[in-house]
Protein backbone atom coordinates (compact mmCIF):
# COMPACT_ATOMS: atom_id res chain seq x y z
CA UNK A 1 0.00 0.00 0.00
CA UNK A 2 1.43 3.38 -0.93
CA UNK A 3 2.09 5.95 1.78
CA UNK A 4 2.97 9.51 0.92
CA UNK A 5 3.89 12.22 3.39
CA UNK A 6 3.97 15.89 2.50
CA UNK A 7 5.49 18.55 4.71
CA UNK A 8 4.30 22.16 4.47
CA UNK A 9 5.77 25.36 5.86
CA UNK A 10 2.68 27.46 5.12
CA UNK A 11 -0.89 27.12 6.24
CA UNK A 12 -2.43 28.33 2.97
CA UNK A 13 -0.36 25.80 1.00
CA UNK A 14 -1.57 23.04 3.28
CA UNK A 15 -5.19 24.08 2.91
CA UNK A 16 -4.82 24.23 -0.90
CA UNK A 17 -3.27 20.76 -0.89
CA UNK A 18 -6.07 19.26 1.23
CA UNK A 19 -8.62 20.86 -1.08
CA UNK A 20 -6.87 19.54 -4.18
CA UNK A 21 -6.57 16.03 -2.73
CA UNK A 22 -10.27 15.99 -1.90
CA UNK A 23 -11.10 17.24 -5.38
CA UNK A 24 -9.03 14.37 -6.77
CA UNK A 25 -11.12 11.91 -4.78
CA UNK A 26 -8.57 11.14 -2.07
CA UNK A 27 -10.43 10.20 1.09
CA UNK A 28 -7.88 8.51 3.36
CA UNK A 29 -5.77 11.46 4.40
CA UNK A 30 -4.51 12.61 7.76
CA UNK A 31 -3.26 16.07 8.61
CA UNK A 32 -0.88 17.05 11.42
CA UNK A 33 -0.57 20.60 12.71
CA UNK A 34 1.00 22.33 15.71
CA UNK A 35 -2.28 24.08 16.53
CA UNK A 36 -5.98 23.65 15.82
CA UNK A 37 -7.03 25.58 12.69
CA UNK A 38 -10.61 26.00 11.62
CA UNK A 39 -9.57 25.95 7.94
CA UNK A 40 -8.39 22.35 8.33
CA UNK A 41 -11.35 21.23 10.45
CA UNK A 42 -13.84 22.75 8.01
CA UNK A 43 -12.33 20.90 5.05
CA UNK A 44 -12.14 17.53 6.77
CA UNK A 45 -15.04 17.58 9.26
CA UNK A 46 -17.54 19.79 7.46
CA UNK A 47 -20.93 19.23 9.11
CA UNK A 48 -19.66 16.45 11.38
CA UNK A 49 -19.50 17.71 14.97
CA UNK A 50 -17.44 15.73 17.45
CA UNK A 51 -19.33 12.91 19.18
CA UNK A 52 -17.58 13.89 22.42
CA UNK A 53 -20.69 15.94 23.15
CA UNK A 54 -22.74 12.78 23.69
CA UNK A 55 -20.26 11.59 26.31
CA UNK A 56 -20.60 14.96 28.00
CA UNK A 57 -24.38 14.87 28.01
CA UNK A 58 -24.67 11.28 29.23
CA UNK A 59 -22.06 11.90 31.95
CA UNK A 60 -23.78 15.07 33.13
CA UNK A 61 -27.26 13.47 33.24
CA UNK A 62 -25.90 10.41 35.05
CA UNK A 63 -24.11 12.67 37.53
CA UNK A 64 -27.20 14.76 38.18
CA UNK A 65 -29.47 11.77 38.75
CA UNK A 66 -26.77 10.00 40.77
CA UNK A 67 -26.10 13.04 42.98
CA UNK A 68 -29.76 13.62 43.79
CA UNK A 69 -30.32 9.90 44.37
CA UNK A 70 -27.31 9.69 46.68
CA UNK A 71 -28.53 12.59 48.81
CA UNK A 72 -32.20 11.61 48.92
CA UNK A 73 -31.90 7.82 49.24
CA UNK A 74 -29.22 8.03 51.92
CA UNK A 75 -31.43 10.48 53.85
CA UNK A 76 -34.30 8.00 53.85
CA UNK A 77 -32.12 5.29 55.42
CA UNK A 78 -32.42 7.06 58.80
CA UNK A 79 -35.60 9.12 58.41
CA UNK A 80 -35.06 11.32 61.44
CA UNK A 81 -36.82 14.66 61.68
CA UNK A 82 -33.93 17.10 61.60
CA UNK A 83 -34.64 20.21 63.70
CA UNK A 84 -35.42 23.16 61.52
CA UNK A 85 -38.47 21.70 59.86
CA UNK A 86 -36.82 20.52 56.66
CA UNK A 87 -38.41 17.47 55.06
CA UNK A 88 -36.37 14.26 54.89
CA UNK A 89 -35.87 14.74 51.16
CA UNK A 90 -35.25 18.49 50.86
CA UNK A 91 -34.92 19.56 47.28
CA UNK A 92 -33.15 22.96 47.68
CA UNK A 93 -30.15 21.73 49.71
CA UNK A 94 -29.86 18.57 47.61
CA UNK A 95 -29.61 20.70 44.47
CA UNK A 96 -26.08 21.64 45.54
CA UNK A 97 -25.03 17.97 45.57
CA UNK A 98 -26.92 17.38 42.31
CA UNK A 99 -25.15 20.29 40.63
CA UNK A 100 -21.68 19.25 41.83
CA UNK A 101 -22.18 15.64 40.70
CA UNK A 102 -23.51 16.83 37.32
CA UNK A 103 -20.37 18.87 36.72
CA UNK A 104 -18.02 16.20 38.07
CA UNK A 105 -19.35 13.28 36.06
CA UNK A 106 -19.94 15.44 32.99
CA UNK A 107 -16.29 16.53 33.01
CA UNK A 108 -14.96 13.03 33.67
CA UNK A 109 -17.13 11.56 30.90
CA UNK A 110 -15.88 14.28 28.54
CA UNK A 111 -12.32 13.27 29.38
CA UNK A 112 -13.11 9.62 28.60
CA UNK A 113 -14.80 10.65 25.35
CA UNK A 114 -11.80 12.77 24.40
CA UNK A 115 -9.37 9.91 25.04
CA UNK A 116 -11.55 7.42 23.17
CA UNK A 117 -12.17 9.50 20.06
CA UNK A 118 -8.62 10.88 19.88
CA UNK A 119 -7.30 7.31 20.30
CA UNK A 120 -5.23 8.40 23.27
CA UNK A 121 -2.90 7.08 24.57
CA UNK A 122 -1.75 6.87 20.95
CA UNK A 123 -0.13 3.51 20.37
CA UNK A 124 0.96 2.37 16.93
CA UNK A 125 0.47 5.73 15.26
CA UNK A 126 1.63 6.08 11.66
CA UNK A 127 5.34 6.76 11.82
CA UNK A 128 5.10 9.55 9.26
CA UNK A 129 2.98 11.60 11.68
CA UNK A 130 5.58 11.42 14.44
CA UNK A 131 7.72 14.05 12.72
CA UNK A 132 8.82 16.50 15.49
CA UNK A 133 8.34 19.45 13.13
CA UNK A 134 4.56 18.96 13.31
CA UNK A 135 4.40 20.16 16.93
CA UNK A 136 6.70 23.07 16.10
CA UNK A 137 6.32 25.11 12.91
CA UNK A 138 5.36 22.77 10.05
CA UNK A 139 2.22 21.03 8.85
CA UNK A 140 1.96 17.54 7.42
CA UNK A 141 -0.30 15.39 5.28
CA UNK A 142 -0.23 11.61 5.13
CA UNK A 143 -2.07 9.89 2.29
CA UNK A 144 -2.44 6.11 2.25
CA UNK A 145 -3.63 3.66 -0.38
CA UNK A 146 -3.70 6.02 -3.32
CA UNK A 147 -1.74 6.22 -6.55
CA UNK A 148 1.47 7.72 -5.22
CA UNK A 149 2.55 9.58 -8.37
CA UNK A 150 -0.73 11.48 -8.45
CA UNK A 151 -0.56 12.32 -4.75
CA UNK A 152 3.08 13.40 -4.95
CA UNK A 153 2.27 15.71 -7.84
CA UNK A 154 -0.64 17.33 -5.99
CA UNK A 155 1.49 17.87 -2.90
CA UNK A 156 4.38 19.33 -4.91
CA UNK A 157 2.11 21.54 -6.98
CA UNK A 158 0.59 23.02 -3.83
CA UNK A 159 3.83 24.02 -2.22
CA UNK A 160 4.99 21.06 -0.12
CA UNK A 161 8.55 21.65 1.05
CA UNK A 162 9.16 17.93 1.29
CA UNK A 163 7.39 14.89 -0.14
CA UNK A 164 8.40 11.45 1.07
CA UNK A 165 7.20 7.98 0.21
CA UNK A 166 5.67 6.12 -2.65
CA UNK A 167 4.47 2.68 -3.55
Amino acid sequence: MSRVKGVFAHLDSLVDAIDALKQAGVSDLQVAAPLPRHEIAELIYEGRPSPVRWWTMIGAITGGIGGFSLASLSSTVWPMAIPGGKPIVSVPPFMVITFECTVLLGALATLLGLLYHCRLPAVGMDEELTDPRFMNDHFGILVKGEESAKVCKILHDNGAVEVVGGA
Partner: protein, 442 residues
Protein backbone atom coordinates in the same frame (compact mmCIF):
# COMPACT_ATOMS: atom_id res chain seq x y z
CA UNK B 1 1.83 40.79 21.93
CA UNK B 2 3.39 40.95 18.49
CA UNK B 3 1.25 39.32 15.83
CA UNK B 4 4.24 38.30 13.71
CA UNK B 5 6.12 35.89 15.94
CA UNK B 6 7.17 32.72 14.03
CA UNK B 7 5.80 29.46 15.46
CA UNK B 8 9.31 28.10 16.01
CA UNK B 9 10.21 31.12 18.14
CA UNK B 10 7.16 30.51 20.34
CA UNK B 11 8.41 26.96 21.03
CA UNK B 12 11.94 28.20 21.58
CA UNK B 13 10.98 31.03 23.97
CA UNK B 14 8.54 29.04 26.08
CA UNK B 15 10.66 25.89 26.35
CA UNK B 16 13.95 27.72 26.98
CA UNK B 17 13.68 27.97 30.79
CA UNK B 18 12.75 24.30 31.28
CA UNK B 19 15.18 22.01 33.10
CA UNK B 20 17.62 24.87 33.70
CA UNK B 21 17.39 25.81 37.37
CA UNK B 22 19.39 28.96 38.06
CA UNK B 23 20.96 29.66 41.49
CA UNK B 24 18.26 32.28 42.14
CA UNK B 25 15.54 29.78 41.31
CA UNK B 26 17.07 27.14 43.58
CA UNK B 27 17.34 29.68 46.40
CA UNK B 28 13.63 30.47 46.05
CA UNK B 29 12.71 26.80 45.83
CA UNK B 30 14.68 25.83 48.93
CA UNK B 31 13.24 28.81 50.83
CA UNK B 32 9.74 27.58 49.93
CA UNK B 33 10.64 24.04 50.98
CA UNK B 34 12.05 25.43 54.25
CA UNK B 35 8.76 27.20 55.00
CA UNK B 36 6.84 24.08 54.12
CA UNK B 37 8.98 21.95 56.45
CA UNK B 38 8.50 24.46 59.26
CA UNK B 39 4.72 24.26 58.68
CA UNK B 40 4.99 20.47 58.75
CA UNK B 41 6.86 20.66 62.08
CA UNK B 42 4.10 22.86 63.54
CA UNK B 43 1.50 20.37 62.35
CA UNK B 44 3.41 17.52 63.98
CA UNK B 45 3.25 19.43 67.29
CA UNK B 46 -0.47 19.89 66.86
CA UNK B 47 -0.90 16.18 66.18
CA UNK B 48 1.06 15.38 69.32
CA UNK B 49 -0.53 17.88 71.72
CA UNK B 50 -3.98 18.47 70.19
CA UNK B 51 -5.85 21.40 68.70
CA UNK B 52 -5.31 23.50 71.83
CA UNK B 53 -1.82 24.40 70.61
CA UNK B 54 -3.53 25.70 67.46
CA UNK B 55 -5.13 28.44 69.55
CA UNK B 56 -8.57 26.82 69.60
CA UNK B 57 -10.48 27.62 72.74
CA UNK B 58 -14.25 28.08 73.05
CA UNK B 59 -16.01 30.04 71.71
CA UNK B 60 -13.47 30.60 68.88
CA UNK B 61 -13.27 27.20 67.22
CA UNK B 62 -12.65 28.53 63.72
CA UNK B 63 -9.51 30.62 63.41
CA UNK B 64 -6.49 30.85 61.17
CA UNK B 65 -7.05 27.47 59.51
CA UNK B 66 -10.51 28.31 58.20
CA UNK B 67 -9.37 31.85 57.34
CA UNK B 68 -6.50 30.43 55.32
CA UNK B 69 -8.72 27.78 53.73
CA UNK B 70 -11.07 30.47 52.42
CA UNK B 71 -8.10 32.59 51.35
CA UNK B 72 -6.56 29.82 49.21
CA UNK B 73 -9.86 28.70 47.68
CA UNK B 74 -10.43 32.32 46.71
CA UNK B 75 -7.00 32.60 45.14
CA UNK B 76 -7.88 29.68 42.87
CA UNK B 77 -10.90 31.39 41.38
CA UNK B 78 -9.07 33.88 39.21
CA UNK B 79 -7.30 31.04 37.40
CA UNK B 80 -10.59 29.41 36.49
CA UNK B 81 -12.11 32.73 35.51
CA UNK B 82 -9.19 33.45 33.20
CA UNK B 83 -8.94 29.96 31.74
CA UNK B 84 -12.64 29.13 31.36
CA UNK B 85 -14.84 32.22 31.28
CA UNK B 86 -12.43 34.32 29.24
CA UNK B 87 -12.02 31.34 26.85
CA UNK B 88 -15.75 31.14 26.25
CA UNK B 89 -16.01 34.89 25.60
CA UNK B 90 -12.91 34.68 23.36
CA UNK B 91 -10.99 37.31 25.28
CA UNK B 92 -7.63 37.77 23.56
CA UNK B 93 -5.61 38.89 26.56
CA UNK B 94 -6.20 35.61 28.37
CA UNK B 95 -3.86 33.61 26.08
CA UNK B 96 -0.56 34.68 27.59
CA UNK B 97 -1.53 34.42 31.23
CA UNK B 98 -3.98 31.55 31.47
CA UNK B 99 -1.58 28.62 31.86
CA UNK B 100 0.25 30.13 34.85
CA UNK B 101 -3.11 31.20 36.32
CA UNK B 102 -4.48 27.67 35.95
CA UNK B 103 -1.37 26.26 37.62
CA UNK B 104 -1.94 28.75 40.41
CA UNK B 105 -5.54 27.50 40.74
CA UNK B 106 -4.51 23.87 41.06
CA UNK B 107 -1.81 24.55 43.63
CA UNK B 108 -4.01 27.00 45.57
CA UNK B 109 -6.88 24.51 45.80
CA UNK B 110 -4.40 21.77 46.78
CA UNK B 111 -3.23 24.08 49.56
CA UNK B 112 -6.78 24.98 50.60
CA UNK B 113 -7.69 21.29 50.76
CA UNK B 114 -5.11 20.75 53.51
CA UNK B 115 -6.81 23.11 55.92
CA UNK B 116 -10.07 21.30 56.67
CA UNK B 117 -7.87 18.26 57.36
CA UNK B 118 -5.61 20.29 59.65
CA UNK B 119 -8.62 21.88 61.28
CA UNK B 120 -10.34 18.53 61.89
CA UNK B 121 -7.53 17.60 64.25
CA UNK B 122 -7.66 13.82 63.88
CA UNK B 123 -6.76 13.97 60.20
CA UNK B 124 -6.69 10.18 59.86
CA UNK B 125 -10.50 10.29 60.03
CA UNK B 126 -10.79 12.89 57.25
CA UNK B 127 -12.26 10.27 54.92
CA UNK B 128 -15.41 10.30 57.08
CA UNK B 129 -16.26 13.51 55.23
CA UNK B 130 -17.01 11.53 52.07
CA UNK B 131 -20.06 9.34 51.55
CA UNK B 132 -19.15 5.68 51.38
CA UNK B 133 -21.18 2.51 51.84
CA UNK B 134 -20.76 1.12 55.33
CA UNK B 135 -22.26 -1.62 57.47
CA UNK B 136 -24.17 0.79 59.75
CA UNK B 137 -25.59 2.66 56.75
CA UNK B 138 -24.40 5.98 58.13
CA UNK B 139 -24.25 8.79 55.60
CA UNK B 140 -23.22 12.45 55.79
CA UNK B 141 -25.95 15.01 56.37
CA UNK B 142 -26.50 16.32 52.87
CA UNK B 143 -28.42 19.30 54.28
CA UNK B 144 -25.24 20.61 55.89
CA UNK B 145 -23.20 23.26 54.07
CA UNK B 146 -20.04 21.56 55.32
CA UNK B 147 -20.92 18.49 53.23
CA UNK B 148 -21.75 20.73 50.25
CA UNK B 149 -18.29 22.17 50.71
CA UNK B 150 -16.66 18.73 50.53
CA UNK B 151 -18.45 18.10 47.24
CA UNK B 152 -17.76 21.60 45.90
CA UNK B 153 -14.03 21.59 46.65
CA UNK B 154 -13.49 17.99 45.47
CA UNK B 155 -15.34 18.70 42.23
CA UNK B 156 -13.49 21.97 41.75
CA UNK B 157 -10.08 20.38 42.25
CA UNK B 158 -10.90 17.43 39.97
CA UNK B 159 -12.42 19.47 37.14
CA UNK B 160 -9.67 22.12 37.33
CA UNK B 161 -6.98 19.44 37.29
CA UNK B 162 -8.55 17.72 34.26
CA UNK B 163 -8.94 21.05 32.45
CA UNK B 164 -5.34 21.97 33.27
CA UNK B 165 -3.96 18.61 32.14
CA UNK B 166 -5.94 18.53 28.91
CA UNK B 167 -4.63 22.02 28.11
CA UNK B 168 -1.10 20.81 28.70
CA UNK B 169 -1.28 17.76 26.40
CA UNK B 170 -0.22 19.53 23.14
CA UNK B 171 2.48 21.44 24.99
CA UNK B 172 3.86 18.28 26.59
CA UNK B 173 4.08 16.97 23.01
CA UNK B 174 6.14 20.04 22.08
CA UNK B 175 8.48 19.38 25.02
CA UNK B 176 8.84 15.75 23.89
CA UNK B 177 9.85 16.83 20.41
CA UNK B 178 12.53 19.20 21.71
CA UNK B 179 14.16 16.81 24.16
CA UNK B 180 14.76 13.26 23.02
CA UNK B 181 15.99 10.45 25.29
CA UNK B 182 14.56 9.91 28.75
CA UNK B 183 12.95 13.36 28.99
CA UNK B 184 11.35 12.80 25.60
CA UNK B 185 9.96 9.44 26.71
CA UNK B 186 8.55 10.86 29.94
CA UNK B 187 6.89 13.73 28.09
CA UNK B 188 5.60 11.43 25.38
CA UNK B 189 3.87 9.55 28.20
CA UNK B 190 2.51 12.78 29.65
CA UNK B 191 1.32 13.87 26.19
CA UNK B 192 -0.28 10.42 25.73
CA UNK B 193 1.45 10.21 22.35
CA UNK B 194 -0.43 13.29 21.06
CA UNK B 195 0.72 14.24 17.53
CA UNK B 196 -1.62 17.04 16.53
CA UNK B 197 -3.52 15.08 13.89
CA UNK B 198 -6.73 16.49 12.46
CA UNK B 199 -8.76 13.85 14.34
CA UNK B 200 -7.05 14.71 17.63
CA UNK B 201 -7.50 18.46 17.25
CA UNK B 202 -11.12 18.08 16.16
CA UNK B 203 -12.18 16.16 19.28
CA UNK B 204 -9.75 18.05 21.48
CA UNK B 205 -11.30 21.42 20.68
CA UNK B 206 -14.83 20.11 21.24
CA UNK B 207 -13.85 18.63 24.60
CA UNK B 208 -11.93 21.76 25.62
CA UNK B 209 -15.05 23.85 25.06
CA UNK B 210 -17.07 21.51 27.27
CA UNK B 211 -14.45 21.63 30.03
CA UNK B 212 -14.59 25.43 29.89
CA UNK B 213 -18.38 25.29 30.05
CA UNK B 214 -18.22 23.04 33.12
CA UNK B 215 -15.56 25.13 34.84
CA UNK B 216 -17.49 28.38 34.30
CA UNK B 217 -20.34 27.75 36.77
CA UNK B 218 -17.77 26.41 39.22
CA UNK B 219 -16.23 29.90 39.43
CA UNK B 220 -19.51 31.13 40.84
CA UNK B 221 -20.66 28.04 42.71
CA UNK B 222 -17.57 27.02 44.69
CA UNK B 223 -17.11 30.24 46.60
CA UNK B 224 -20.88 30.57 47.01
CA UNK B 225 -20.84 27.18 48.71
CA UNK B 226 -17.86 28.25 50.84
CA UNK B 227 -19.80 31.37 51.84
CA UNK B 228 -22.75 29.19 52.94
CA UNK B 229 -20.44 27.55 55.50
CA UNK B 230 -20.89 30.87 57.28
CA UNK B 231 -24.13 32.35 55.96
CA UNK B 232 -26.26 29.31 56.83
CA UNK B 233 -25.11 29.56 60.46
CA UNK B 234 -27.02 31.77 62.90
CA UNK B 235 -23.88 33.62 64.02
CA UNK B 236 -24.22 37.40 63.94
CA UNK B 237 -22.09 38.92 61.20
CA UNK B 238 -22.31 35.77 59.07
CA UNK B 239 -26.02 35.15 58.56
CA UNK B 240 -26.43 37.23 55.43
CA UNK B 241 -27.76 36.66 51.91
CA UNK B 242 -25.10 38.95 50.47
CA UNK B 243 -22.35 36.45 51.26
CA UNK B 244 -22.29 34.43 48.00
CA UNK B 245 -21.79 37.34 45.56
CA UNK B 246 -19.54 39.10 48.07
CA UNK B 247 -17.36 35.99 48.38
CA UNK B 248 -17.19 35.40 44.63
CA UNK B 249 -16.16 39.00 43.93
CA UNK B 250 -13.59 38.83 46.74
CA UNK B 251 -12.22 35.57 45.38
CA UNK B 252 -11.69 36.99 41.91
CA UNK B 253 -10.23 40.17 43.40
CA UNK B 254 -7.63 38.28 45.45
CA UNK B 255 -6.97 35.72 42.70
CA UNK B 256 -6.23 38.34 40.05
CA UNK B 257 -3.93 40.10 42.51
CA UNK B 258 -2.08 36.83 43.10
CA UNK B 259 -1.76 36.29 39.32
CA UNK B 260 -0.09 39.71 39.10
CA UNK B 261 2.17 38.91 42.08
CA UNK B 262 3.32 35.69 40.42
CA UNK B 263 3.54 36.79 36.80
CA UNK B 264 5.38 40.11 37.15
CA UNK B 265 8.64 38.52 38.38
CA UNK B 266 8.16 35.42 36.19
CA UNK B 267 7.85 37.50 33.03
CA UNK B 268 10.99 39.48 33.87
CA UNK B 269 13.07 36.43 34.81
CA UNK B 270 12.11 34.32 31.78
CA UNK B 271 12.10 37.29 29.37
CA UNK B 272 8.56 36.53 28.19
CA UNK B 273 7.66 40.14 27.40
CA UNK B 274 6.58 39.02 23.91
CA UNK B 275 3.81 36.95 25.46
CA UNK B 276 2.97 38.57 28.80
CA UNK B 277 3.32 42.32 29.07
CA UNK B 278 1.75 45.50 30.37
CA UNK B 279 -1.31 44.98 28.15
CA UNK B 280 -2.14 41.76 30.05
CA UNK B 281 -1.32 43.22 33.46
CA UNK B 282 -3.47 46.26 32.81
CA UNK B 283 -6.46 44.02 32.08
CA UNK B 284 -5.82 42.11 35.31
CA UNK B 285 -5.58 45.39 37.22
CA UNK B 286 -8.89 46.55 35.71
CA UNK B 287 -10.49 43.27 36.75
CA UNK B 288 -9.17 43.90 40.27
CA UNK B 289 -10.62 47.41 40.22
CA UNK B 290 -14.02 46.07 39.20
CA UNK B 291 -14.14 43.25 41.74
CA UNK B 292 -12.53 45.46 44.41
CA UNK B 293 -15.35 47.97 43.91
CA UNK B 294 -17.91 45.19 44.36
CA UNK B 295 -16.14 44.10 47.55
CA UNK B 296 -16.12 47.68 48.90
CA UNK B 297 -19.80 48.03 48.04
CA UNK B 298 -20.50 44.74 49.85
CA UNK B 299 -18.72 46.01 52.98
CA UNK B 300 -20.95 49.09 52.92
CA UNK B 301 -24.15 47.15 52.29
CA UNK B 302 -23.32 44.69 55.07
CA UNK B 303 -22.94 47.57 57.47
CA UNK B 304 -26.14 49.23 56.31
CA UNK B 305 -28.17 46.01 56.57
CA UNK B 306 -26.83 45.43 60.09
CA UNK B 307 -27.98 48.93 61.05
CA UNK B 308 -31.29 48.69 59.21
CA UNK B 309 -32.12 45.24 60.67
CA UNK B 310 -32.50 46.78 64.10
CA UNK B 311 -31.19 43.48 65.46
CA UNK B 312 -28.87 44.32 68.34
CA UNK B 313 -26.56 41.33 67.96
CA UNK B 314 -26.01 42.03 64.28
CA UNK B 315 -25.49 45.74 64.85
CA UNK B 316 -23.31 44.96 67.86
CA UNK B 317 -20.86 42.87 65.87
CA UNK B 318 -20.64 45.42 63.06
CA UNK B 319 -19.98 48.16 65.61
CA UNK B 320 -17.41 45.95 67.34
CA UNK B 321 -15.37 45.17 64.22
CA UNK B 322 -14.09 48.68 63.41
CA UNK B 323 -13.99 49.90 67.03
CA UNK B 324 -13.28 46.88 69.25
CA UNK B 325 -10.38 44.51 69.86
CA UNK B 326 -10.16 43.61 66.18
CA UNK B 327 -10.19 47.20 64.91
CA UNK B 328 -6.60 46.79 63.66
CA UNK B 329 -7.71 43.82 61.56
CA UNK B 330 -10.70 45.70 60.18
CA UNK B 331 -8.72 48.78 59.24
CA UNK B 332 -5.93 46.68 57.75
CA UNK B 333 -8.55 44.95 55.59
CA UNK B 334 -10.27 48.20 54.68
CA UNK B 335 -7.11 50.06 53.71
CA UNK B 336 -5.59 47.17 51.72
CA UNK B 337 -8.79 46.25 49.85
CA UNK B 338 -10.71 49.47 49.50
CA UNK B 339 -8.22 52.36 49.59
CA UNK B 340 -4.78 51.30 48.35
CA UNK B 341 -5.99 49.60 45.10
CA UNK B 342 -7.64 52.88 44.10
CA UNK B 343 -4.26 54.10 42.88
CA UNK B 344 -4.76 51.71 39.95
CA UNK B 345 -7.31 54.17 38.61
CA UNK B 346 -4.21 56.11 37.52
CA UNK B 347 -2.98 54.60 34.27
CA UNK B 348 0.60 55.45 35.16
CA UNK B 349 0.46 53.18 38.21
CA UNK B 350 -1.39 50.26 36.64
CA UNK B 351 1.01 50.25 33.68
CA UNK B 352 4.12 50.16 35.85
CA UNK B 353 5.41 46.74 36.87
CA UNK B 354 6.51 48.02 40.29
CA UNK B 355 3.10 49.65 40.86
CA UNK B 356 1.31 46.46 39.87
CA UNK B 357 3.49 44.18 41.96
CA UNK B 358 3.40 46.26 45.16
CA UNK B 359 -0.35 46.93 45.12
CA UNK B 360 -1.10 43.28 44.35
CA UNK B 361 0.75 42.25 47.51
CA UNK B 362 -1.32 44.70 49.55
CA UNK B 363 -4.49 43.13 48.11
CA UNK B 364 -3.27 39.63 49.02
CA UNK B 365 -2.65 40.76 52.58
CA UNK B 366 -5.96 42.62 52.76
CA UNK B 367 -7.96 39.66 51.52
CA UNK B 368 -6.45 37.33 54.11
CA UNK B 369 -7.37 39.86 56.80
CA UNK B 370 -10.89 40.16 55.38
CA UNK B 371 -11.54 36.49 56.13
CA UNK B 372 -9.86 36.74 59.54
CA UNK B 373 -11.93 39.84 60.31
CA UNK B 374 -15.33 38.24 59.93
CA UNK B 375 -14.41 34.78 61.23
CA UNK B 376 -12.55 35.72 64.42
CA UNK B 377 -14.57 38.77 65.43
CA UNK B 378 -17.97 37.09 65.06
CA UNK B 379 -16.93 34.05 67.09
CA UNK B 380 -15.09 35.98 69.78
CA UNK B 381 -18.08 38.26 70.32
CA UNK B 382 -21.17 36.10 70.05
CA UNK B 383 -24.55 36.48 71.75
CA UNK B 384 -23.45 35.84 75.35
CA UNK B 385 -21.24 38.65 76.73
CA UNK B 386 -20.02 36.29 79.47
CA UNK B 387 -18.32 34.19 76.80
CA UNK B 388 -16.63 37.05 74.98
CA UNK B 389 -12.95 36.61 74.42
CA UNK B 390 -10.04 37.93 72.38
CA UNK B 391 -8.57 35.34 70.08
CA UNK B 392 -5.11 35.76 68.62
CA UNK B 393 -3.37 33.13 66.50
CA UNK B 394 -0.82 30.93 68.24
CA UNK B 395 2.67 30.58 66.79
CA UNK B 396 1.70 27.07 65.64
CA UNK B 397 -1.08 28.56 63.50
CA UNK B 398 1.22 31.24 62.11
CA UNK B 399 3.79 28.52 61.35
CA UNK B 400 1.23 26.46 59.47
CA UNK B 401 0.07 29.59 57.61
CA UNK B 402 3.69 30.22 56.52
CA UNK B 403 4.00 26.52 55.69
CA UNK B 404 1.02 26.81 53.36
CA UNK B 405 2.77 29.57 51.42
CA UNK B 406 5.88 27.38 51.26
CA UNK B 407 3.81 24.43 50.00
CA UNK B 408 2.07 26.57 47.36
CA UNK B 409 5.24 28.24 46.08
CA UNK B 410 7.14 24.95 46.04
CA UNK B 411 4.61 23.43 43.63
CA UNK B 412 4.44 26.57 41.52
CA UNK B 413 8.22 26.85 41.23
CA UNK B 414 8.54 23.14 40.39
CA UNK B 415 5.93 23.55 37.68
CA UNK B 416 7.89 26.43 36.12
CA UNK B 417 10.80 24.04 35.58
CA UNK B 418 8.92 21.07 34.19
CA UNK B 419 5.84 22.43 32.40
CA UNK B 420 5.33 25.14 29.77
CA UNK B 421 3.98 28.04 31.83
CA UNK B 422 2.79 29.79 28.68
CA UNK B 423 0.39 27.87 26.43
CA UNK B 424 2.34 27.21 23.23
CA UNK B 425 -0.51 26.02 21.01
CA UNK B 426 -2.81 28.87 22.06
CA UNK B 427 -0.11 31.50 21.60
CA UNK B 428 0.28 30.16 18.07
CA UNK B 429 -3.44 30.57 17.54
CA UNK B 430 -3.15 34.23 18.44
CA UNK B 431 -0.27 35.06 16.08
CA UNK B 432 -0.46 35.28 12.31
CA UNK B 433 0.08 31.84 10.75
CA UNK B 434 2.91 31.32 8.22
CA UNK B 435 1.38 32.07 4.81
CA UNK B 436 2.90 31.64 1.37
CA UNK B 437 0.88 34.64 0.21
CA UNK B 438 2.65 36.83 2.82
CA UNK B 439 6.07 35.68 1.61
CA UNK B 440 5.17 36.25 -2.01
CA UNK B 441 3.86 39.74 -1.20
CA UNK B 442 7.08 40.53 0.63
Amino acid sequence: MSNRIPYSKVNEDVLRPLFKPTPGYLALLFTAIGFMLFGGYCWSLQLEYGLGVGGYNPPVMWGVYITTFVFWVGIGHAGTLISAILFLVRSRWRTGVYRASEAMTIFAVMTAGLFPILHAGRCWYAWWLFPYPNQRELWPNFKSPLVWDVFAISTYLTVSAVFFYVGLIPDFAAVRDKWRGTIGKIYNGLALGFRGTDRQWHHYMAAYGFFAAFATPLVVSVHSVVSWDFAVAQTAGWHSTIFPPYFVAGAIFSGCAMVITLLVPMTKIFKWENYINIWHFEHLAKLCLLTGSIVTYAYGIELFIAYYSDYIYEWGIFYYRPTGDYAWVFWMMFSCNCVIPLVWWFKKVRTSLAGLFIISIFINIGMWFERFNFIASSLAHMHDPGAWTYYTPSWIEVGILCGSFGWFFMWFLLFLQVGPAVAIAEIKESVRPPLRSDEEAA
